[in-house]
Symmetry: C2
Subunit: 217 residues, 2 copies
DNA sequence: ATTAAAATTTAGGCAAAGCTAAAAATTTAT
DNA sequence: ATAAATTTTTAGCTTTGCCTAAATTTTAAT
């Protein structure tokens, strides 16, 4: 399996929220920053390999084999992200490009040993679930901070908008990955949220609260 | 820089023990398991990029820039080997293929953080020196067990012949990487060596002693 | 129901990196 | 010193993955 084929499978997987719906050529081209004609070429190739189901002009859909392959690449990507953040001092926003390369390294032993070394993590640094080696995925449990009710607690696991500005703003607020927080109150007027975090109280704007993911605890 | 270019630079580096001598097209082709004509093509390309010095029919030689690039790939390869052996339970003979892939991952931060995480190792699991980030290499200090004199001590750091048979034989003798040993006596008749290792005495054949690297301590 | 617009595919090309076979240069051997 | 053998290069072809432009199909609009 080539690097390019793996990237196509991954893109198709991410584009099909629902396993039954078909993904359009243009959607894939946009996601991969390539041209529709290139997508058509590759999709034919993947189709011959029985990794996708494809009918001209009708869009494309992963076969079970293709899905498993894609999920395995995602498993590797997310395990490497955990490694980078927990062991090599990378921050949330720095991991993506490197994990994008590491996910293509081929070695089953490597993946399983890495999983063991990291103590079998279940979510990556963005709060997304890590598929197990059989391709099973726990449904994501992350929710937006804005959806927590008064009194509920959570742990910061990721951001929706990962722009540099937002990440730097979070740094300024001293909010970082893994921090625990409690919702003290919510302000109906402007939808801002008062939270307790790192032993101090902080009022978070609606915009911030709708861009910060937490897992309820 | 493409993966293929990196592999050529690395091969040329390994083939030129002496920085001044020129490496032949055929030697590169053999080392890389490719054809001489392919080598000629690539060498022209590297020459245009000023990474090698090349004159038709005269062989090829790394420029300083090319040498630095090659050494950096080797640095990454050896750091990953240390990681695989020390953190992920790989054995000496399993690391090569995976390190061969990992050495091409592009991220300066990754390399420096990995170096820190591993506590700045100076040799890889085969006893070969790890270049520093400026391309400086400590001369290798590994010697063959057969060269140690009576009373000298060393640490096992690698093998000359890395055949499966030999590695399995070492396992059977309970000799493994990092073990300390002392030469108790040498037998002039058959060049075998009596050593103390892991709190027991062991007589090692000449063939074994000439295939096992140690660093003197 | 046509026609216009949008999406998709086909056709034809390009660059990278490899190959084989033939030509050219160099080295070795008589 | 010349011929034979070896090494290296050139020429031309292949595959992968991408591109543009043109053709085709599907979808949307009147």
């Amino acid at each position: 399996m080539t690097l390019s084929e793996e990237n196509y499978l991954k893109a198709i997987y991410h584009l099909s929220k629902d396993a039954r719906d078909e993904v359009s050529t243009n959607a894939i081209a946009d996601a991969m920053e390539t041209k529709a004609s290139s997508v058509t070429d590759m999709v034919k190739k993947l189709s011959e390999k029985k990794l996708v189901k494809y009918k001209k002009y009708q869009g494309v859909k992963l076969t079970e084999e293709g899905r498993l392959y894609a999920v395995n690449v995602i498993r590797k990507h997310r395990l490497w992200e955990v490694f980078l953040v927990e062991k090599l001092n990378f921050s949330w926003d720095e991991v993506h490009d490197v994990a994008e390369q590491l996910e293509h390294i081929k070695s089953d032993k490597l993946v399983e040993e890495l999983d063991t070394f990291l103590d079998y993590p279940t979510v990556d640094p963005h709060g997304d679930p890590i598929p197990d080696k059989h391709g099973k995925i726990q449904p994501s449990s992350k929710v937006l901070l804005s959806s927590l009710k008064k009194g509920e607690k959570g742990v910061c696991v990721g951001v929706k908008n990962s722009s540099k500005e937002f990440l730097q703003y979070l740094d300024k607020l001293r909010i970082s990955l893994g921090d625990e927080l409690t919702v003290l109150s919510r302000e109906p007027f402007d939808n801002s949220v008062l939270i307790r975090i790192n032993d101090s109280e902080l009022n978070v704007s609606s915009l911030t609260a709708t861009n910060l993911y937490v897992t309820k605890t």
